[in-house]
Symmetry: C2
Subunit: 299 residues, 2 copies
Protein backbone atom coordinates (compact mmCIF):
# COMPACT_ATOMS: atom_id res chain seq x y z
CA UNK A 1 0.00 0.00 0.00
CA UNK A 2 1.30 3.48 -0.83
CA UNK A 3 0.14 7.01 -0.11
CA UNK A 4 -0.11 9.88 -2.56
CA UNK A 5 1.77 12.90 -1.22
CA UNK A 6 1.56 16.48 -2.47
CA UNK A 7 5.20 16.05 -3.42
CA UNK A 8 4.07 13.38 -5.90
CA UNK A 9 1.75 15.92 -7.50
CA UNK A 10 4.61 18.44 -7.69
CA UNK A 11 7.00 15.86 -9.13
CA UNK A 12 4.41 14.97 -11.77
CA UNK A 13 4.37 18.67 -12.73
CA UNK A 14 8.15 18.62 -13.18
CA UNK A 15 9.51 19.55 -9.73
CA UNK A 16 13.15 18.44 -9.37
CA UNK A 17 13.12 16.97 -12.86
CA UNK A 18 12.40 13.46 -11.61
CA UNK A 19 11.67 10.75 -14.21
CA UNK A 20 10.49 7.41 -12.94
CA UNK A 21 7.93 5.75 -10.71
CA UNK A 22 6.51 8.05 -8.03
CA UNK A 23 5.70 7.15 -4.43
CA UNK A 24 7.68 7.37 -1.19
CA UNK A 25 5.07 6.53 1.47
CA UNK A 26 4.51 2.80 1.69
CA UNK A 27 4.08 -0.35 3.69
CA UNK A 28 4.92 -3.66 2.06
CA UNK A 29 6.24 -7.18 2.43
CA UNK A 30 9.76 -8.32 1.59
CA UNK A 31 9.50 -10.41 -1.57
CA UNK A 32 13.16 -11.12 -2.05
CA UNK A 33 16.62 -10.06 -0.99
CA UNK A 34 18.76 -9.52 -4.03
CA UNK A 35 21.80 -11.73 -4.36
CA UNK A 36 24.67 -9.25 -4.49
CA UNK A 37 28.42 -9.56 -4.37
CA UNK A 38 29.80 -9.74 -0.84
CA UNK A 39 30.36 -6.23 0.45
CA UNK A 40 27.85 -4.67 -1.93
CA UNK A 41 26.55 -1.48 -0.41
CA UNK A 42 23.12 -2.03 -1.92
CA UNK A 43 22.54 -5.23 0.04
CA UNK A 44 24.89 -4.60 2.93
CA UNK A 45 24.68 -2.54 6.06
CA UNK A 46 24.12 -5.01 8.87
CA UNK A 47 20.34 -4.59 8.90
CA UNK A 48 19.77 -7.27 6.29
CA UNK A 49 18.48 -9.78 8.81
CA UNK A 50 14.83 -9.20 7.93
CA UNK A 51 13.37 -12.32 6.36
CA UNK A 52 11.37 -12.62 3.18
CA UNK A 53 7.73 -12.17 4.15
CA UNK A 54 8.38 -9.53 6.81
CA UNK A 55 6.02 -6.56 6.70
CA UNK A 56 8.13 -3.42 6.51
CA UNK A 57 8.26 0.30 5.99
CA UNK A 58 11.39 1.91 4.56
CA UNK A 59 13.45 5.05 5.04
CA UNK A 60 13.38 6.84 1.69
CA UNK A 61 16.92 8.24 1.61
CA UNK A 62 19.38 5.65 0.34
CA UNK A 63 22.89 6.92 1.04
CA UNK A 64 26.22 5.92 -0.40
CA UNK A 65 27.04 4.09 2.83
CA UNK A 66 30.59 5.37 2.97
CA UNK A 67 30.62 9.18 3.36
CA UNK A 68 31.00 10.90 6.74
CA UNK A 69 27.26 11.47 7.02
CA UNK A 70 26.32 7.88 6.18
CA UNK A 71 28.97 6.68 8.63
CA UNK A 72 26.96 8.31 11.43
CA UNK A 73 23.96 6.22 10.41
CA UNK A 74 22.10 9.18 8.92
CA UNK A 75 21.91 9.19 5.12
CA UNK A 76 19.36 11.97 4.88
CA UNK A 77 21.92 14.48 3.67
CA UNK A 78 24.34 12.14 1.90
CA UNK A 79 25.36 14.20 -1.15
CA UNK A 80 25.03 11.25 -3.52
CA UNK A 81 21.87 9.75 -1.99
CA UNK A 82 18.98 8.49 -4.03
CA UNK A 83 15.50 9.10 -2.66
CA UNK A 84 12.65 6.67 -3.19
CA UNK A 85 10.31 8.03 -5.84
CA UNK A 86 11.96 11.47 -5.70
CA UNK A 87 15.63 11.37 -6.74
CA UNK A 88 17.18 8.68 -8.94
CA UNK A 89 15.20 5.73 -7.58
CA UNK A 90 11.85 4.31 -8.68
CA UNK A 91 9.17 4.64 -6.04
CA UNK A 92 6.35 2.89 -4.26
CA UNK A 93 3.35 3.38 -6.57
CA UNK A 94 4.19 0.00 -8.09
CA UNK A 95 3.90 -3.73 -7.50
CA UNK A 96 7.49 -3.92 -6.34
CA UNK A 97 10.11 -1.48 -5.15
CA UNK A 98 13.73 -1.82 -4.16
CA UNK A 99 15.57 -0.34 -1.18
CA UNK A 100 18.79 -1.27 0.63
CA UNK A 101 18.01 -3.69 3.49
CA UNK A 102 19.39 -1.22 6.03
CA UNK A 103 16.57 1.16 5.12
CA UNK A 104 13.83 -1.30 6.14
CA UNK A 105 12.09 -1.49 9.51
CA UNK A 106 9.70 -4.25 10.50
CA UNK A 107 6.16 -3.12 11.32
CA UNK A 108 4.74 -4.44 14.63
CA UNK A 109 1.61 -6.62 14.28
CA UNK A 110 -0.49 -4.10 16.17
CA UNK A 111 0.00 -1.44 13.50
CA UNK A 112 -2.36 -1.87 10.54
CA UNK A 113 -1.36 -1.22 6.94
CA UNK A 114 -3.68 1.80 6.96
CA UNK A 115 -1.63 3.27 9.82
CA UNK A 116 1.81 2.05 8.77
CA UNK A 117 1.54 3.68 5.36
CA UNK A 118 1.70 7.01 7.23
CA UNK A 119 5.08 6.31 8.84
CA UNK A 120 7.03 8.40 6.34
CA UNK A 121 4.94 11.59 6.62
CA UNK A 122 4.53 11.10 10.38
CA UNK A 123 8.31 10.78 10.70
CA UNK A 124 8.64 14.00 8.70
CA UNK A 125 6.18 15.69 11.08
CA UNK A 126 8.12 14.51 14.13
CA UNK A 127 11.29 15.66 12.38
CA UNK A 128 10.28 19.18 13.36
CA UNK A 129 11.45 18.32 16.88
CA UNK A 130 14.89 17.30 15.63
CA UNK A 131 15.33 20.75 14.13
CA UNK A 132 13.53 22.76 16.79
CA UNK A 133 13.09 21.33 20.28
CA UNK A 134 9.73 22.49 21.65
CA UNK A 135 9.80 22.49 25.47
CA UNK A 136 6.56 22.20 27.45
CA UNK A 137 4.83 25.54 27.76
CA UNK A 138 5.90 26.81 24.34
CA UNK A 139 3.19 28.63 22.44
CA UNK A 140 3.13 27.05 18.99
CA UNK A 141 1.04 27.23 15.84
CA UNK A 142 0.91 25.29 12.61
CA UNK A 143 -0.07 27.11 9.44
CA UNK A 144 -1.91 25.08 6.81
CA UNK A 145 -4.78 22.62 7.21
CA UNK A 146 -3.84 20.32 4.34
CA UNK A 147 -2.57 16.77 4.84
CA UNK A 148 0.80 17.94 6.07
CA UNK A 149 -0.50 20.52 8.53
CA UNK A 150 -3.07 18.10 9.94
CA UNK A 151 -0.47 15.39 10.34
CA UNK A 152 1.90 17.74 12.15
CA UNK A 153 -0.95 18.88 14.40
CA UNK A 154 -1.72 15.26 15.27
CA UNK A 155 1.94 14.39 15.83
CA UNK A 156 2.47 17.41 18.07
CA UNK A 157 -0.97 17.38 19.73
CA UNK A 158 0.50 16.81 23.23
CA UNK A 159 2.23 20.19 22.84
CA UNK A 160 -1.16 21.84 22.24
CA UNK A 161 -0.48 23.68 18.99
CA UNK A 162 -2.94 26.03 17.35
CA UNK A 163 -3.77 24.93 13.80
CA UNK A 164 -4.37 27.88 11.48
CA UNK A 165 -6.09 27.21 8.17
CA UNK A 166 -8.82 28.22 5.77
CA UNK A 167 -11.10 25.18 5.95
CA UNK A 168 -13.21 24.69 9.11
CA UNK A 169 -14.03 21.10 8.07
CA UNK A 170 -10.34 20.21 7.83
CA UNK A 171 -9.40 22.12 10.97
CA UNK A 172 -12.00 20.05 12.84
CA UNK A 173 -10.13 16.82 11.99
CA UNK A 174 -7.17 17.58 14.25
CA UNK A 175 -7.53 17.11 18.00
CA UNK A 176 -6.11 20.58 18.68
CA UNK A 177 -7.37 24.14 18.70
CA UNK A 178 -8.24 25.03 15.11
CA UNK A 179 -8.33 28.64 14.02
CA UNK A 180 -9.89 29.62 10.72
CA UNK A 181 -7.68 32.20 9.14
CA UNK A 182 -10.54 34.56 8.36
CA UNK A 183 -11.15 35.12 12.02
CA UNK A 184 -7.54 34.63 13.09
CA UNK A 185 -6.95 38.26 13.93
CA UNK A 186 -9.95 38.35 16.23
CA UNK A 187 -8.62 35.47 18.32
CA UNK A 188 -6.31 36.43 21.14
CA UNK A 189 -4.60 33.06 20.88
CA UNK A 190 -2.98 34.02 17.59
CA UNK A 191 -2.09 37.64 18.20
CA UNK A 192 0.85 39.03 16.30
CA UNK A 193 4.25 38.71 17.91
CA UNK A 194 3.25 36.28 20.64
CA UNK A 195 4.19 32.75 19.56
CA UNK A 196 7.43 30.92 20.33
CA UNK A 197 7.34 28.52 17.37
CA UNK A 198 5.34 28.56 14.14
CA UNK A 199 5.45 25.63 11.71
CA UNK A 200 4.72 26.60 8.12
CA UNK A 201 2.94 23.78 6.29
CA UNK A 202 1.04 25.66 3.60
CA UNK A 203 3.95 26.23 1.22
CA UNK A 204 2.57 29.65 0.33
CA UNK A 205 4.13 33.11 0.57
CA UNK A 206 1.06 34.20 2.57
CA UNK A 207 1.69 31.40 5.05
CA UNK A 208 5.34 32.43 5.38
CA UNK A 209 4.36 36.05 5.99
CA UNK A 210 1.68 35.09 8.54
CA UNK A 211 4.17 32.87 10.35
CA UNK A 212 6.67 35.73 10.64
CA UNK A 213 3.91 38.00 11.90
CA UNK A 214 2.79 35.62 14.63
CA UNK A 215 6.25 35.00 16.09
CA UNK A 216 7.64 36.78 19.12
CA UNK A 217 11.14 38.30 18.86
CA UNK A 218 13.73 35.50 18.72
CA UNK A 219 10.99 32.99 17.91
CA UNK A 220 11.47 30.10 15.48
CA UNK A 221 9.75 29.55 12.15
CA UNK A 222 10.00 25.93 10.96
CA UNK A 223 9.61 25.56 7.20
CA UNK A 224 8.14 22.17 6.51
CA UNK A 225 6.46 22.51 3.16
CA UNK A 226 7.72 22.54 -0.40
CA UNK A 227 7.90 26.07 -1.81
CA UNK A 228 7.97 26.78 -5.51
CA UNK A 229 10.44 29.11 -7.12
CA UNK A 230 11.28 32.31 -5.27
CA UNK A 231 9.20 33.18 -2.21
CA UNK A 232 9.10 36.90 -1.34
CA UNK A 233 10.25 37.19 2.27
CA UNK A 234 10.40 40.18 4.66
CA UNK A 235 14.04 39.57 5.55
CA UNK A 236 14.21 42.82 7.55
CA UNK A 237 11.67 41.37 9.97
CA UNK A 238 13.94 38.32 10.43
CA UNK A 239 16.86 40.62 11.25
CA UNK A 240 15.10 43.19 13.45
CA UNK A 241 13.24 40.60 15.53
CA UNK A 242 16.09 38.08 15.32
CA UNK A 243 13.84 35.29 14.08
CA UNK A 244 15.27 31.83 13.31
CA UNK A 245 13.94 30.23 10.13
CA UNK A 246 14.67 26.52 10.19
CA UNK A 247 14.12 24.10 7.32
CA UNK A 248 12.91 20.59 8.10
CA UNK A 249 12.61 17.73 5.61
CA UNK A 250 12.70 14.04 6.58
CA UNK A 251 12.40 12.53 10.04
CA UNK A 252 13.45 9.24 11.58
CA UNK A 253 11.12 6.26 11.14
CA UNK A 254 11.59 4.55 14.50
CA UNK A 255 9.92 7.23 16.67
CA UNK A 256 7.04 7.49 14.18
CA UNK A 257 6.48 3.75 14.24
CA UNK A 258 6.60 3.79 18.05
CA UNK A 259 3.99 6.54 18.13
CA UNK A 260 1.69 4.55 15.83
CA UNK A 261 2.24 1.39 17.89
CA UNK A 262 1.25 3.29 21.04
CA UNK A 263 -2.19 3.87 19.52
CA UNK A 264 -2.21 7.48 20.68
CA UNK A 265 -2.55 8.92 17.17
CA UNK A 266 -5.37 7.99 14.83
CA UNK A 267 -4.41 8.94 11.30
CA UNK A 268 -7.25 7.06 9.60
CA UNK A 269 -9.36 10.24 9.62
CA UNK A 270 -6.93 11.67 7.07
CA UNK A 271 -7.80 8.95 4.52
CA UNK A 272 -10.13 10.17 1.78
CA UNK A 273 -10.02 6.98 -0.29
CA UNK A 274 -8.26 3.66 -0.89
CA UNK A 275 -7.91 2.92 -4.61
CA UNK A 276 -6.47 0.01 -6.58
CA UNK A 277 -3.04 0.61 -8.02
CA UNK A 278 -4.65 -0.11 -11.40
CA UNK A 279 -6.41 3.24 -11.09
CA UNK A 280 -3.39 5.22 -9.94
CA UNK A 281 -3.69 7.91 -12.60
CA UNK A 282 -7.28 8.68 -11.63
CA UNK A 283 -6.22 8.64 -8.00
CA UNK A 284 -3.50 11.21 -8.71
CA UNK A 285 -6.05 13.47 -10.35
CA UNK A 286 -8.43 13.06 -7.41
CA UNK A 287 -5.66 13.77 -4.93
CA UNK A 288 -5.19 17.19 -6.51
CA UNK A 289 -8.83 18.20 -5.97
CA UNK A 290 -9.77 20.69 -3.25
CA UNK A 291 -10.95 19.09 -0.03
CA UNK A 292 -9.36 15.71 -0.74
CA UNK A 293 -6.92 14.48 1.91
CA UNK A 294 -4.87 11.26 1.73
CA UNK A 295 -5.56 8.80 -1.10
CA UNK A 296 -3.95 5.40 -0.68
CA UNK A 297 -3.04 3.03 -3.48
CA UNK A 298 -3.49 -0.66 -2.75
CA UNK A 299 -2.02 -3.54 -4.67
Amino acid sequence: MSGICNTDLELARGYMGFRGTLGHEFVGVIESVAASPIGSLESGGGASTLAVGTRVVGEINAGCGTCALCATGDSRHCPTRTVLGIVGRDGAHADLLRLPPRNLIAVPDGVSDLQAVFVEPLAAALGVLERCPIPAGCRIAIIGDGKLGLLIAMALAPRQPILVGKHPDKLALAPVEGISIDEARRRTSVRSGKLDVVIEASGSADGFALALDLLRPQGTLVLKSTFHGATPVDAARIVVDEISVVGSRCGRFAPALQLLASGSVDLSRLISDVVSLDHAEDAMRDAAKPGVLKILLSR
Copy 2:
Protein backbone atom coordinates in the same frame (compact mmCIF):
# COMPACT_ATOMS: atom_id res chain seq x y z
CA MET B 1 31.95 61.84 18.00
CA SER B 2 29.45 59.84 16.01
CA GLY B 3 29.62 57.43 13.08
CA ILE B 4 27.44 57.44 9.99
CA CYS B 5 25.94 53.99 9.47
CA ASN B 6 24.22 52.69 6.35
CA THR B 7 21.10 52.48 8.50
CA ASP B 8 21.26 56.29 8.79
CA LEU B 9 21.21 56.53 5.00
CA GLU B 10 18.22 54.18 4.87
CA LEU B 11 16.39 56.08 7.60
CA ALA B 12 16.97 59.33 5.71
CA ARG B 13 15.29 57.67 2.72
CA GLY B 14 12.24 56.83 4.83
CA TYR B 15 13.05 53.39 6.27
CA MET B 16 10.93 52.69 9.39
CA GLY B 17 9.30 56.11 9.14
CA PHE B 18 11.70 57.66 11.66
CA ARG B 19 11.49 61.43 12.18
CA GLY B 20 14.15 63.04 14.32
CA THR B 21 17.89 63.29 14.77
CA LEU B 22 19.85 60.41 13.27
CA GLY B 23 22.88 58.66 14.72
CA HIS B 24 23.33 55.62 16.96
CA GLU B 25 27.11 55.09 16.95
CA PHE B 26 28.81 57.50 19.35
CA VAL B 27 31.33 58.18 22.05
CA GLY B 28 30.72 61.17 24.32
CA VAL B 29 31.11 62.72 27.73
CA ILE B 30 28.38 62.94 30.36
CA GLU B 31 27.32 66.58 30.51
CA SER B 32 24.56 66.23 33.04
CA VAL B 33 22.34 63.71 34.77
CA ALA B 34 18.76 64.87 34.54
CA ALA B 35 17.00 65.57 37.80
CA SER B 36 14.07 63.17 37.66
CA PRO B 37 11.42 62.07 40.12
CA ILE B 38 12.62 59.30 42.41
CA GLY B 39 11.88 55.98 40.76
CA SER B 40 11.77 57.45 37.28
CA LEU B 41 12.67 54.76 34.79
CA GLU B 42 14.44 57.24 32.56
CA SER B 43 17.05 58.03 35.19
CA GLY B 44 16.89 54.83 37.21
CA GLY B 45 18.38 51.43 36.79
CA GLY B 46 21.24 51.17 39.25
CA ALA B 47 23.92 52.10 36.72
CA SER B 48 23.54 55.80 37.34
CA THR B 49 26.78 56.03 39.28
CA LEU B 50 28.76 57.42 36.36
CA ALA B 51 29.85 60.97 37.12
CA VAL B 52 29.50 64.02 34.95
CA GLY B 53 32.61 64.19 32.80
CA THR B 54 32.92 60.44 32.30
CA ARG B 55 33.65 59.38 28.72
CA VAL B 56 31.01 56.86 27.70
CA VAL B 57 29.44 54.83 24.95
CA GLY B 58 25.76 53.84 25.17
CA GLU B 59 23.56 50.88 24.35
CA ILE B 60 21.06 52.15 21.82
CA ASN B 61 17.96 50.19 22.94
CA ALA B 62 16.19 51.96 25.80
CA GLY B 63 13.65 49.55 27.27
CA CYS B 64 10.65 50.17 29.46
CA GLY B 65 12.58 48.76 32.41
CA THR B 66 9.64 46.75 33.71
CA CYS B 67 8.69 44.06 31.16
CA ALA B 68 9.88 40.46 31.41
CA LEU B 69 12.62 41.08 28.85
CA CYS B 70 13.92 44.23 30.54
CA ALA B 71 13.83 42.41 33.87
CA THR B 72 16.47 40.04 32.51
CA GLY B 73 18.72 43.02 31.83
CA ASP B 74 18.28 42.79 28.05
CA SER B 75 16.12 45.55 26.56
CA ARG B 76 17.01 44.77 22.95
CA HIS B 77 13.59 43.22 22.29
CA CYS B 78 11.48 45.20 24.76
CA PRO B 79 8.25 45.73 22.78
CA THR B 80 7.99 49.39 23.82
CA ARG B 81 11.69 50.23 23.53
CA THR B 82 12.98 53.37 21.93
CA VAL B 83 16.17 53.09 19.89
CA LEU B 84 18.70 55.91 19.72
CA GLY B 85 18.37 57.67 16.36
CA ILE B 86 16.19 54.87 14.97
CA VAL B 87 12.90 54.52 16.86
CA GLY B 88 11.29 57.30 18.91
CA ARG B 89 14.48 58.81 20.31
CA ASP B 90 16.69 61.55 18.89
CA GLY B 91 20.15 60.32 18.01
CA ALA B 92 23.84 61.04 18.20
CA HIS B 93 24.51 63.31 15.19
CA ALA B 94 24.00 66.27 17.55
CA ASP B 95 25.75 68.31 20.23
CA LEU B 96 23.88 66.48 22.97
CA LEU B 97 21.92 63.26 23.24
CA ARG B 98 19.97 61.64 26.03
CA LEU B 99 19.95 58.01 27.19
CA PRO B 100 18.96 56.31 30.44
CA PRO B 101 22.02 56.06 32.72
CA ARG B 102 21.76 52.27 32.75
CA ASN B 103 22.55 52.29 29.02
CA LEU B 104 25.92 53.97 29.49
CA ILE B 105 29.29 52.26 29.81
CA ALA B 106 32.52 54.07 30.69
CA VAL B 107 35.27 53.88 28.08
CA PRO B 108 38.72 52.83 29.35
CA ASP B 109 41.47 55.43 28.89
CA GLY B 110 43.37 53.15 26.52
CA VAL B 111 40.58 53.21 23.96
CA SER B 112 40.66 56.32 21.78
CA ASP B 113 37.55 58.14 20.58
CA LEU B 114 38.32 56.94 17.06
CA GLN B 115 38.09 53.36 18.30
CA ALA B 116 35.30 53.79 20.86
CA VAL B 117 32.94 55.24 18.29
CA PHE B 118 32.91 51.77 16.71
CA VAL B 119 31.63 50.01 19.83
CA GLU B 120 28.03 49.84 18.61
CA PRO B 121 28.73 48.29 15.19
CA LEU B 122 31.47 46.09 16.67
CA ALA B 123 28.98 44.87 19.29
CA ALA B 124 26.52 44.15 16.48
CA ALA B 125 29.23 42.17 14.66
CA LEU B 126 30.03 40.15 17.78
CA GLY B 127 26.27 39.67 18.25
CA VAL B 128 26.52 37.06 15.49
CA LEU B 129 28.05 34.75 18.09
CA GLU B 130 25.08 35.19 20.43
CA ARG B 131 22.77 33.94 17.69
CA CYS B 132 25.08 31.35 16.16
CA PRO B 133 27.95 29.91 18.20
CA ILE B 134 30.88 29.27 15.87
CA PRO B 135 33.12 26.52 17.29
CA ALA B 136 36.76 26.32 16.28
CA GLY B 137 37.20 24.53 12.97
CA CYS B 138 33.95 25.83 11.47
CA ARG B 139 34.24 26.86 7.85
CA ILE B 140 32.70 30.32 7.67
CA ALA B 141 32.28 33.10 5.14
CA ILE B 142 31.03 36.67 5.25
CA ILE B 143 29.27 38.07 2.20
CA GLY B 144 29.68 41.78 1.59
CA ASP B 145 32.80 43.96 1.73
CA GLY B 146 31.11 47.15 2.89
CA LYS B 147 31.59 48.65 6.35
CA LEU B 148 29.47 45.98 8.01
CA GLY B 149 31.10 43.00 6.28
CA LEU B 150 34.60 44.34 6.97
CA LEU B 151 33.76 44.97 10.62
CA ILE B 152 32.39 41.44 11.03
CA ALA B 153 35.47 40.04 9.33
CA MET B 154 37.70 41.94 11.76
CA ALA B 155 35.62 40.95 14.78
CA LEU B 156 35.65 37.29 13.79
CA ALA B 157 39.18 37.21 12.34
CA PRO B 158 40.38 34.62 14.93
CA ARG B 159 37.83 32.22 13.42
CA GLN B 160 39.45 32.66 9.98
CA PRO B 161 36.41 33.59 7.92
CA ILE B 162 36.49 34.04 4.15
CA LEU B 163 35.31 37.50 3.14
CA VAL B 164 33.43 37.47 -0.18
CA GLY B 165 32.92 40.77 -1.95
CA LYS B 166 33.16 42.68 -5.20
CA HIS B 167 35.89 45.19 -4.35
CA PRO B 168 39.49 43.93 -4.12
CA ASP B 169 40.57 47.19 -2.45
CA LYS B 170 38.02 46.77 0.33
CA LEU B 171 38.63 43.05 0.70
CA ALA B 172 42.29 43.83 1.28
CA LEU B 173 41.42 45.89 4.39
CA ALA B 174 40.36 42.90 6.47
CA PRO B 175 43.06 40.65 7.97
CA VAL B 176 41.34 37.53 6.61
CA GLU B 177 41.17 35.65 3.32
CA GLY B 178 39.37 37.90 0.85
CA ILE B 179 37.65 36.41 -2.17
CA SER B 180 36.51 38.62 -5.01
CA ILE B 181 33.12 37.41 -6.08
CA ASP B 182 34.05 37.37 -9.77
CA GLU B 183 36.53 34.61 -9.17
CA ALA B 184 34.64 33.02 -6.28
CA ARG B 185 33.61 29.95 -8.20
CA ARG B 186 37.16 29.19 -9.22
CA ARG B 187 38.35 29.13 -5.61
CA THR B 188 38.02 25.81 -3.85
CA SER B 189 37.64 27.61 -0.52
CA VAL B 190 34.17 28.82 -1.44
CA ARG B 191 32.76 25.82 -3.26
CA SER B 192 29.01 25.40 -3.19
CA GLY B 193 27.57 23.39 -0.34
CA LYS B 194 30.70 23.29 1.80
CA LEU B 195 30.46 26.00 4.48
CA ASP B 196 29.13 25.60 8.00
CA VAL B 197 28.17 29.23 8.57
CA VAL B 198 27.68 32.13 6.15
CA ILE B 199 27.06 35.67 7.41
CA GLU B 200 25.11 37.84 4.96
CA ALA B 201 26.22 41.46 5.22
CA SER B 202 25.39 42.77 1.76
CA GLY B 203 21.66 43.19 2.24
CA SER B 204 21.05 42.08 -1.34
CA ALA B 205 18.96 39.27 -2.76
CA ASP B 206 22.07 38.11 -4.65
CA GLY B 207 23.98 37.92 -1.39
CA PHE B 208 21.19 35.90 0.21
CA ALA B 209 21.14 33.49 -2.74
CA LEU B 210 24.95 33.12 -2.73
CA ALA B 211 24.91 32.46 1.01
CA LEU B 212 22.36 29.67 0.59
CA ASP B 213 24.42 28.21 -2.22
CA LEU B 214 27.64 28.13 -0.22
CA LEU B 215 26.17 26.39 2.84
CA ARG B 216 26.41 22.69 3.53
CA PRO B 217 23.21 20.80 4.46
CA GLN B 218 22.09 21.88 7.95
CA GLY B 219 24.40 24.89 7.79
CA THR B 220 23.50 28.29 9.24
CA LEU B 221 22.93 31.55 7.39
CA VAL B 222 23.17 34.58 9.66
CA LEU B 223 21.31 37.61 8.29
CA LYS B 224 23.05 40.71 9.57
CA SER B 225 22.14 43.40 7.09
CA THR B 226 19.04 45.49 6.53
CA PHE B 227 16.97 44.20 3.63
CA HIS B 228 14.44 46.37 1.79
CA GLY B 229 10.93 45.24 1.05
CA ALA B 230 10.43 41.66 -0.04
CA THR B 231 13.53 39.59 -0.80
CA PRO B 232 12.99 36.66 -3.18
CA VAL B 233 14.22 33.55 -1.37
CA ASP B 234 14.62 29.93 -2.53
CA ALA B 235 12.67 28.54 0.43
CA ALA B 236 12.71 25.01 -1.05
CA ARG B 237 16.50 25.02 -0.65
CA ILE B 238 16.08 25.91 3.04
CA VAL B 239 13.70 22.95 3.48
CA VAL B 240 15.51 20.33 1.40
CA ASP B 241 18.94 21.06 2.87
CA GLU B 242 17.51 21.92 6.31
CA ILE B 243 19.30 25.27 6.47
CA SER B 244 18.87 27.55 9.50
CA VAL B 245 18.43 31.24 8.67
CA VAL B 246 19.08 33.31 11.77
CA GLY B 247 18.50 37.04 12.10
CA SER B 248 20.98 39.09 14.13
CA ARG B 249 20.59 42.75 15.08
CA CYS B 250 22.25 44.34 18.11
CA GLY B 251 25.03 42.94 20.27
CA ARG B 252 26.24 43.60 23.80
CA PHE B 253 28.60 46.51 24.35
CA ALA B 254 30.81 45.08 27.08
CA PRO B 255 32.52 42.37 24.96
CA ALA B 256 33.04 44.87 22.14
CA LEU B 257 34.65 47.37 24.47
CA GLN B 258 36.86 44.61 25.91
CA LEU B 259 37.95 43.64 22.40
CA LEU B 260 38.88 47.24 21.60
CA ALA B 261 40.70 47.61 24.93
CA SER B 262 42.73 44.48 24.14
CA GLY B 263 44.15 46.26 21.11
CA SER B 264 43.75 43.18 18.95
CA VAL B 265 41.43 44.86 16.45
CA ASP B 266 42.38 47.98 14.55
CA LEU B 267 39.25 49.57 13.15
CA SER B 268 40.90 52.85 12.14
CA ARG B 269 41.48 51.48 8.65
CA LEU B 270 37.71 51.64 8.16
CA ILE B 271 37.66 55.44 8.61
CA SER B 272 37.33 57.34 5.36
CA ASP B 273 36.98 60.79 6.92
CA VAL B 274 36.35 62.77 10.11
CA VAL B 275 34.08 65.75 9.48
CA SER B 276 32.75 68.54 11.70
CA LEU B 277 29.17 68.08 12.79
CA ASP B 278 28.53 71.43 11.10
CA HIS B 279 28.96 69.65 7.77
CA ALA B 280 26.83 66.64 8.62
CA GLU B 281 24.61 66.91 5.55
CA ASP B 282 27.60 66.88 3.19
CA ALA B 283 29.02 63.99 5.19
CA MET B 284 25.79 62.02 4.77
CA ARG B 285 25.98 62.55 1.01
CA ASP B 286 29.62 61.47 0.94
CA ALA B 287 28.86 58.38 3.04
CA ALA B 288 26.51 57.19 0.31
CA LYS B 289 29.19 57.32 -2.40
CA PRO B 290 30.74 54.11 -3.75
CA GLY B 291 34.04 53.20 -2.13
CA VAL B 292 33.50 55.35 0.97
CA LEU B 293 33.70 53.52 4.27
CA LYS B 294 33.10 55.04 7.73
CA ILE B 295 32.63 58.79 8.02
CA LEU B 296 32.78 60.15 11.55
CA LEU B 297 31.16 63.37 12.73
CA SER B 298 33.08 65.31 15.34
CA ARG B 299 31.74 68.04 17.56
